[in-house]
């Protein structure tokens, strides 16, 4: 029962936001696929759970756009894993996505709480 509850609390990711989240996550350093999904889940307080069926296509998509690069490295537990790293182009892309995201948030906020807007002006 508890598990079901957890699923209901989860929020569907907005179209196009996954790429941004991945790029954001990689800002703090190279990471492998499992690490990225764990990181997103942790930072969102268990609310955002990235499906593997979306994560890996997204990673490979970012790879073909050359926004991330990948290499095989040893993990902390001394095992091989594929690490993704942000490229210069990826950093630029992240900035522009961040700007877009803020625009969206503002716009949506404006729609969702119009009264306050009126009060301010």
């Amino acid at each position: 029962m508890a598990k079901k509850q957890r699923y209901q609390n989860r929020i569907e990711l907005l179209q196009g936001t996954l790429d941004m989240l991945i790029l954001q996550t990689l800002q703090w350093g190279a990471q492998h696929g499992y690490g990225i999904s764990q990181s997103i889940r942790g930072r969102s307080g268990e609310v955002l759970q990235v499906e593997t069926g979306s994560l890996y296509p997204a990673l490979h998509r970012l790879g073909t756009q050359a926004w991330v690069s990948s290499e095989w490295k040893q993990t902390e537990s001394n095992q091989r894993a594929k690490y993704y790293r942000l490229t210069a182009a990826g950093r630029k892309q992240l900035l522009s996505e961040q700007a877009r995201w803020e625009q969206i948030v503002d716009a949506i906020a404006g729609i969702m709480s119009p009264v306050r807007e009126e009060g301010q002006s």
Binding site: H32, R61, T64
Partner: protein, 896 residues
């Protein structure tokens, strides 16, 4: 990046992805173990969280790009595997398709060569030809020089009007063996108007074609002539060749792809038409018998209708010219036509378009039957493959992926089939062409017709289109089935309940369609086989068997006139002495050779209004002609040798007698023929001394013409067509006949030996071809339909095995079971035949009398076809029905 390099990278990436996913699973499991789960629990949980590995891989791969090629390769691999798994089915399907597509391609390549391929000229769509039509005869493109000049100088619709006249030339020259080559006389504007540029040198131009100024002594040769005789030596320019004893200078070579305007010939030499009076022997220009083929190039913006309107006005000139020279009232009804000539002149099209288009429709039908047949086989197989499909779905394959997979398999089948088809078509088109051109010579066409039927881009595109269409057509049913089987709830349920009512109905309607299509196909075939049978058993008025025809050529001998007559009389005696020969005779024309003579008769006491006058056919025959040909002498007497020097006598046929004489008795009546080039006239009156039965003259399909026979020996010019009535196989006396001729006169050559039966057959080559082809197509179609019916029932029996088992366990008799299975099949058979018959009747009514003179909605033929198909269908139903009774109840029950 090369393909192999790409493929290698691809493999590496694939391995990378696999490892990446395994790492993910391992790390997830590890973390869970650290949280205190057991190894099994941790792995299970990690896998659960990860989800469908195959699906993740597939969607990830989609991000790599060029995936369609990847999946296509995979689909092809699966498809090939599926084909090899069922070699029997694959062979049958590929053969069926190969035959179907091959037949379509073969017919199409003929249609392409004759009707579609554009002439190698600039802007061929603007070219039109002028044709005149004499009532009741095929249209012809042949005009006098005066008409040409008149049209050329007075019209406002053509930017150029050109004339061409095919001919044969004896050509020799320095380093050239004397040989006969095909060539053409052309007017000066010919090449400029067509927009043909020379490969080297220059082509004939207006300056070469000054009528009356004897023309310039120049010739242009074809590229192939240049290659084969001069080895592409540029030194050919300025070379002197001698054409029929007239020396000419070669001034240029036409481009390789240029062959003139007639798709059926490959001329090697072109001469200015102004040279004709010097070269032609006898000159057709000076004797006024020149038939110039006229081709115009429409001015931009001028429609063919406008050209038609103006030409009908200008054509009055030709009509006046014709009527001045002939008393034939029908010349007044002569009409001019203007037809598109972008694909070459129309003579060949007019002769073969109808049979070819009809055959095209037939092979199209055949291919449709083949498609439905393969579709129903694939459908039955698709049901059997539902387990496989369900397995794939549960392994993560999407619905559309399955549909694509099934369609790829169908296309693989149709592509393999079409490869076989192209190969068969290549052989078939050549064979077809040989058969088509094996008939007797067509007026206006040379005896030897050369048509290039090699598969060009159009043909290959056509075949590719057909392959694609058929692949999709017969692939739709199984693809549809795959689409729905993908929604099968679970693997376990698939085997038993997998097929929906709708799917079953679809499978059955495919079989119904096959039966219906076969009825239409067989119905059409039946009509033509019947038509041919009628032609072959028609009472021609003469015997076709046991008659040998021998044509002699006395032109290079010293025998002339009276001398030749005497020689031929002696020869007839020698021929009759040959064992096995019953009688021998000779005549000016032999029946159904396609040649003959005609004139207007003036019968004493029976004046005719000018507009009622019709040509009567004429023939000059020796005594015993009627006896040899088996035409009955109804009244009076036969010719004899004593007629020579006596009063002029003639024999008429019954059609002539009935028309002119109320009592039908012509004996003792007199007539004379119009004065014309044969030297007849009112001063030559003939007495009718005999009447013979009606016999066909030009064509076996025609109404018997009124015919007058003259005594060949009385007229003093003995024709060279001998006919021998034999008691043994006529071919067997041919060597003796040749020897008799050699012994009688060494200088006389035997030009041709054939049998009357062969000559008659040669006149109905298209009819025979269509009957044979449509018959075999129809047979093939009904065999396919029978296979389809059999397959459906056999499959039904297999599917209902347990039900049948239960019925038998409950006491049903073998006969009951048999009846149950058979009625199911017979219903579909009956519906199919019903639909087929009604479609045939409807189509037949539309086509009534449009295709030849055949009753195209003959209920008797259709009834026979329906019966035949019912019988075949009955057998196809009976075999599975009998097998149903062999179902062992215990085995069937245990099965579930």
């Amino acid at each position: 990046m090369s393909f192999w390099n790409w493929l290698w990278q691809r493999k590496k990436r694939e391995a990378d992805l696999e490892e990446e996913i395994q790492d993910h699973l391992r790390m997830a499991a590890q973390e869970r173990m650290e949280q205190g789960l057991t190894v099994e629990q941790a792995h299970a949980s990690a896998a659960r969280e990860f989800g469908n590995v195959t699906l993740v891989k597939e969607t990830t791969r989609d991000m790599w790009g060029r995936v369609w090629l990847e999946t296509l390769l995979q689909d092809l691999r699966y498809g090939l595997r599926a084909m090899l798994r069922n070699p029997g089915f694959t062979v049958v399907a590929v053969l069926t398709l190969g035959l179907g597509i091959g037949a379509n391609t073969a017919i199409f390549s003929l249609i392409n060569a004759l009707m579609l391929r554009m002439l190698p000229a600039r802007n061929p769509g603007q070219l039109v030809e002028l044709l005149h039509r004499y009532p009741g005869e095929p249209r012809m493109n042949g005009f006098s020089w005066h008409s040409y000049e008149h049209f050329r100088d007075s019209n406002h619709v053509f930017s150029g009007l050109i004339g061409v006249m095919p001919s044969h030339f004896q050509v020799r020259g320095e380093g050239l063996e004397p040989e006969a080559v095909d060539g053409e006389y052309v007017v000066g504007d010919f090449f400029p108007v067509l927009g043909v540029k020379p490969v080297i040198g220059r082509l004939i131009g207006p300056q070469d074609d000054q009528m009356g100024a004897a023309g310039s002594h120049v010739a242009v040769v074809s590229w192939s002539y240049w290659k084969s005789r001069f080895n592409l030596d540029p030194g050919i320019l300025g070379k002197r060749i001698i054409v029929e004893d007239v020396p000419l200078t070669v001034v240029g070579v036409t481009p390789r792809e240029f062959f003139g305007l007639m798709t059926w010939s490959r001329p090697d030499v072109w001469l200015p038409v102004a040279m004709e009076p010097a070269i032609g022997r006898p000159s057709r220009m000076t004797s006024g018998r020149m038939g110039l083929g006229l081709i115009g190039r429409l001015k931009p913006g001028v429609s063919i209708e406008q050209a038609r309107a103006e030409m009908s006005v200008l054509f009055q000139f030709t009509v006046e010219e014709m009527t001045k020279n002939s008393k034939d009232p029908l010349w007044r009804q002569l009409k001019i036509e203007v037809a598109p000539a972008g694909a070459g002149l129309s003579v060949l099209r007019d002769n073969f378009a109808k049979p070819l288009l009809f055959l095209m429709a037939l092979v199209g039908l055949l291919l449709l039957v083949a498609c439905t047949n393969i579709a129903s086989m694939l459908l039955a197989r698709a049901v059997a493959r539902q387990r496989e499909m369900a397995l794939r779905v549960s392994l993560g394959a999407g619905r559309f992926r399955l549909v694509r997979q099934v369609l790829t398999e169908s296309l693989l089948l149709s592509t393999t089939g079409s490869l076989l088809g192209v190969f068969l078509a290549y052989l078939g088109a050549k064979a077809l062409l040989r058969i088509i051109t094996s008939g007797r010579q067509i007026v206006e066409l040379p005896a030897r017709i050369e048509i290039d039927v090699h598969p060009d881009v159009h043909v290959l595109l056509f075949t590719a289109g057909v392959a694609l269409l058929t692949g999709v057509l017969f692939g739709l049913a199984p693809a549809w089935s795959a689409f729905f089987s993908a929604s099968a709830p679970s693997l376990r349920e698939v085997g038993t309940a997998g097929e929906t009512r709708l799917q079953r109905l679809f499978g059955k309607s495919l079989v119904v369609a096959q039966v219906a299509l076969s009825v239409v196909l067989l119905g059409a075939a039946g009509l033509f086989v019947g038509h041919l049978w009628n032609l072959q058993h028609l009472n021609l008025g003469f015997r076709r068997d046991h008659v040998l025809l021998v044509t002699l050529d006395p032109r290079r001998s010293e025998y002339k006139g009276e001398q030749l007559s005497r020689l031929y009389q002696e020869l007839l005696g020698r021929m009759e002495a040959i064992p096995g020969v019953r009688s021998a005779t000779l005549s000016g024309a032999t029946p159904i050779s396609g040649a003959g003579a005609s004139s207007f008769a003036n019968v004493e006491g029976h004046p005719e209004k000018p507009e009622d006058r019709r040509y009567v056919s004429l023939n000059w025959v020796a005594p015993k002609y009627f006896q040899t040909l088996g035409t009955p002498l109804l009244a009076g007497r036969d010719f004899n040798y004593q007629d020579q020097g006596g009063p002029r006598v003639a024999i008429v046929n019954q059609a002539m007698a009935r028309y002119y004489f109320a009592d039908g008795n012509p004996i003792g009546k007199h007539f004379w023929l119009d004065r014309d080039w044969k030297g007849f006239g009112p001063d030559k009156t003939y007495e009718i001394v005999g009447m013979v039965g009606d016999a066909k003259y030009y064509d076996i399909g025609e109404a018997t013409p009124r015919t007058i026979y003259f005594n060949a020996f009385q007229e003093g010019h003995a024709p060279s067509h001998f006919a021998l009535w034999t008691s043994i196989d006529p071919e067997n006396v041919a060597p003796e006949v040749r020897r008799a001729v050699r012994e009688a006169a060494k200088t006389i050559q035997v030009a041709q030996v054939t049998t009357l039966a062969d000559q008659v057959d040669a006149s109905i080559v298209p009819e025979r071809l269509i009957a044979t082809l449509s018959g075999s197509f129809g047979a093939l179609g009904s065999v396919l339909a029978a296979i389809g019916l059999y397959g459906l029932l056999a499959y039904t029996v297999a599917r209902r095995a347990s039900e049948i088992g239960i019925r038998m366990a409950l006491g049903a008799q073998a006969a009951d079971v048999r009846w149950m299975v058979m009625t199911a099949g017979l219903w579909w058979l009956a519906i199919g035949i019903g639909i087929g018959v009604s479609v045939s009747l409807a189509v037949g009514r539309i086509l009534q009398n449009r295709i030849w003179r055949i009753n195209s909605a003959d209920p008797l033929t259709l009834a026979a076809v329906a019966l035949l198909l019912a019988a075949v269908g009955l057998v196809a139903c009976y075999i599975p029905a009998r097998r149903a009774t062999k179902v062992d109840p215990m085995v069937a029950l245990r099965y579930e």
